[in-house]
C-alpha cells in the first residue's frame, strides 16, 4: 500500500500541471465548445500529450510503454481534471488499451498497443445501452457469421465514440441480460460498414456518441479474449476506468474548491469579507474534510491497480461513489458561494458543475457503487 507519491511521481505531476495550465486551461474547453469542434478535443494537443509519454505510461515496455504504473497516470489525470482538459486519455489509454492488454492475444497486443503509445491509434469502449450505467444488462448481440461475427444493436453515451479509430464493443454471444455469462469483446473499426456514429452534444462539451450497429461484420480475429468469457476482464477494465475517472473528478473538485475559498477571501458584503461568516466557514471546512478523505481513498485505489490486489473492485466503487458525492457537493457549493456570478457562463465554475454530473453518470452513479460495495462485502 502506498498512500503518498514518490519523487518521480511528484515530478510527473508537476510537469503535467505546468503543461496543462499553460496549454489546456479551462478556456481551451470553452473554445472547443464555442467553435463547435467536431472531435471534442484538440488533436494537436493530444499529440503533445503523447509526446510527453502520457499515452504510454501504463503500458508494458514490450509494447513501447513506460511501465510507470497507474499511480503516475492518476497524478496526471488528477491534474487534467483541474483544467478540465479534454482528451481521449480515459477512452483510449485507460479503457481501450486495458481491454486489449488484459483480454487480447499477443498478436492484438503487439499490433495495437504500440500505436496507442505513439498516439497513432485512439480507442473507445462501447458499453452502455440504457439510461444508467449497468454493464450486466448488456443486450447487444454478436452472432457467429461467415467465419466471423455479426453485430447488431445500439450503444449510447460512448465517450469519444464518434472520433475513435477503433471501438472495443461489449456484446453478448450467449446468456441473457443480467447474467455475467456470455460476454464478449470485439474490435470494430470506426468506419466499419453498417456502423452509424452520431456525436451527442453533451452538457460538459466533451465528446460522446450514440452508435448503431446494423449487421456489422467482423472477422474472427476481432474477438478480444475468450468467447463468452469477457466479464472478468471487463470488470477490471471498468474498475481501472472508475478509479482514473475518480482521479479526474478529484482534480476538478480541488480546483473548484480552491477557487471558491479564494472568492470567500475577496468578496465584500456587509462591509466584511464573506469568508468571515461562520455559516460559510463551516461549509468550506466540511468540503475540505471530504476532499482529504477522497485523496486517501484514491491513493489506495491506485495502489490496488498497480499491486493487482483482489480488493480493487471494492476500492474502485469506494473511490467512484465518494468522488461522485464530493464533486457534486463542491460544485453545488461553489455555485452557491459565488452567488449571482456563479450561474453565469462567464465564470468557469459552471464548466466544473457540468463536468461533474457527466462524470457521475459515467461508469456508475453513487447508488450503483454503494450497492456493488455492499454486495462485495457480503450484505
Amino acid at each position: 500500500m502506498a498512500l503518498v507519491l514518490n519523487e518521480e511521481q511528484r515530478l510527473l505531476k508537476d510537469t503535467a500541471k505546468d503543461f496543462l495550465s499553460e496549454n489546456m486551461p479551462v478556456e481551451a474547453l470553452r473554445t472547443l465548445r464555442d467553435s463547435d469542434d467536431p472531435t471534442g478535443y484538440s488533436q494537436q494537443q493530444w499529440q503533445q500529450m503523447c509526446e510527453l509519454g502520457w499515452a504510454s505510461i501504463v503500458l508494458p515496455e514490450q509494447y513501447d510503454g513506460l511501465d510507470f504504473g497507474f499511480m503516475g497516470l492518476g497524478a496526471i489525470i488528477e491534474e487534467s481534471g483541474r483544467t478540465l482538459a479534454a482528451s481521449p486519455l480515459l477512452s483510449t489509454v485507460v479503457l481501450g488499451a486495458s481491454a486489449i492488454l488484459l483480454g487480447g492475444n499477443e498478436e492484438q497486443k503487439s499490433s495495437l498497443l504500440p500505436k496507442v503509445a505513439s498516439g497513432e491509434l485512439t480507442l473507445a469502449l462501447a458499453l452502455e445501452e440504457g439510461h444508467h450505467h449497468a454493464p450486466l444488462d448488456t443486450a447487444m448481440a454478436a452472432e457467429a457469421h461467415d467465419g466471423g461475427f455479426r453485430l447488431n444493436g445500439n450503444k449510447s453515451f460512448v465517450v469519444d465514440g464518434h472520433s475513435a479509430d477503433k471501438l472495443v464493443v461489449v456484446a453478448r454471444t450467449s446468456g441473457t441480460a443480467g447474467s455475467a455469462d456470455g460476454f464478449s469483446l470485439f474490435l470494430v473499426d470506426g468506419d466499419a460498414k453498417g456502423l452509424t456514429r452520431q456525436r451527442r452534444k453533451m452538457v460538459d462539451s466533451r465528446g460522446a456518441a450514440a452508435l448503431s450497429f446494423d449487421n456489422v461484420d467482423v472477422s474472427a480475429d476481432a474477438l478480444i479474449g475468450e468467447l463468452g468469457q469477457a466479464w472478468p476482464v471487463l470488470e477490471t477494465v471498468l474498475d481501472r476506468g472508475r478509479v482514473c475517472l475518480a482521479a479526474e473528478m478529484l482534480g476538478g473538485a480541488l480546483e473548484c474548491f480552491e477557487r471558491t475559498v479564494e472568492y470567500l477571501k475577496e468578496r465584500d458584503q456587509f462591509g466584511v469579507k464573506i469568508g468571515s461568516f461562520q455559516a460559510l466557514q463551516h461549509r468550506a471546512s466540511l468540503m475540505y474534510i471530504e476532499l482529504e478523505l477522497a485523496k486517501s481513498v484514491l491513493f489506495d485505489a491506485f495502489s490496488a491497480i498497480d499491486d493487482k490486489r483482489a480488493d480493487l473492485p471494492q476500492l474502485a466503487s469506494l473511490a467512484k461513489a465518494r468522488m461522485n458525492d464530493v464533486f457534486e457537493l463542491v460544485t453545488n457549493e461553489a455555485v452557491q458561494m459565488h452567488g449571482g456570478i456563479g450561474v453565469t457562463d462567464e465564470l468557469e465554475i459552471g464548466f466544473f458543475l457540468k463536468r461533474s454530473r457527466v462524470a457521475t453518470q459515467l461508469l456508475g452513479h453513487s447508488g450503483f457503487h454503494r450497492d456493488r460495495y455492499a454486495s462485495l462485502c457480503g450484505y
Binding site: M1, A2, L3, V4, V261, L264, K265, V272, K273, G275, S276, F277, Q278, L280, Q281, H282, A284, S285, L286, Y288, I289, E292, L293, A294, K295, S296, V297, F299, D300, L318, A321, R322, R370, D371, Y373, A374, S375, C377, G378, Y379
Partner: protein, 397 residues
Amino acid sequence: MADLDQFRLEVRQWLEDNCPASQRLPITREEQVWAGKNKQFPSDDAKLWFERMRDKGWTVPEWPSELGGGGLDERQAKVLKEEMKALGCRTPLFDLGIWMLGPAVLEFGNDEQKQEHIPKIARGDVRWCQGYSEPGAGSDLASLQTRAEDMGDHFLVNGSKIWTTNADKADWIFCLVRTDPDAKKQEGISFLLIDMDDPGVTTTPIELISGESEFCQTFFDNVKVPKANLIGELNKGWSVAKALLKHERKLMSEIGGDTPGPSFGPVQAALEYVGTDENGKLKDAALRDQLVRHEMAYRAIGLTHFRTFEERMSGQADSNVPLIMKYVGTEEGKRKEELLLALLGHQALGWDGDGFNEDEKLTTRGWLFSKALSIAGGTSEVQLNIIAKRVLGLPQQ
C-alpha cells in the same frame, strides 16, 4: 526496512510467548486495568500481562527507556501496535497520564519533573485526570477562572473544574489555572499538577444520559500547591494545553479501537438482526444503504489515518490533515452508534433487566455515550472553526 521486518518477527514472537491467552480476548469495561496507587486487577492473567509489558517499557512504547519507556521509534511503535492488534492483545494499562500528560511533561517539563512523573506513569503507579473545562468555560476554554495565586513558596488554588473524567478515582489532576487575572485571556494561564489528596480538593460525579458517571466536577478550596508542580513557564500554560489537546484529539479520532462496546460491528449486527434475502442482500434496503455509507466512510477514514502516518514517515507531512481527524472520527463514530441502534431495532432500546442481552445493553449505552464524543476535547463546531482559520486561511470576524 529489513530491520523493521526483523523487529516485527521479534515482537510477534515475544507477544506469542508472553501474552496470556485470556488477554487476547475482547476486553470489557470491567477488565480494563487502570493506573493508580491502588490498582485493581480483574485476574491474575491481567496482572501478569501488565507486569510483563511494564517491564518491557511497552506500556509507553515510544517514551525514553531511561524513564521507563520502551525507547521505540514511531515506526517500531506502529509495528508493535499492529502486532498487538493482529493477536488481539489487550491494552495492558489505561491512563490519561499515558495518553496526555506524559507527552506534555516530556515536551515541556524540566528534568526533575520528568524524573518525578514519567516513570510513575510508565509503571502505572499514579492515575491522572484532566482539569480543563469549567462551568463557565467550555468551548471558550481560555476564559477559565480557577485562580492560582502566587503565595511566595506555593500557589493557592480556588475554583472548580468540570468534566474531570474519572476524577473520583484519580490520584492526581493536571489543571489549567489563571495565574495572571490582568493579562489577556490566553496569556495569564498556567499548567499545574495537583495531588487529589491535598486538603481542599473535593470531587462529585455527574450522572450522564447513559446512566454512567465517568465525568465529575472537582472543587478547589484554598488548596496549597508546591511551585515545583508548575509545568512550563508561568503564564505560558496555554501552549502546553494546545500541545496536549492535539494528543487528546488524536486519541478521540482513534476511539473505538480499544473501548468496550458490543461484541459485534455494524455488518455483523445487520446480518444477525436484519437478515438477508435470497440474493444475500440485507432485507431492508434503507438500512443497507445506511450501513454501506458508514462502512465506506470508515474505510476512507482508516485510509486517511494511514496516509498521515506515511506522509510523516516520508517527510511529506501535511500538518493540516490531522486537524480533520477529530471531527471525522467522532462524527462518524456517532453515526455508527445510530446505525447500530437502527439495526438492532427494539432490542437496542432496553435500559436494564431481562429481555436484553449484554451486547444489546452496551449498544444502547454506547449510543448515548457517543453523544459526548463530538463535544469533549473541542466540539465539532470548534473543529470546523479551526480548519477554516488555520487550514483555509479564511478571515476572522
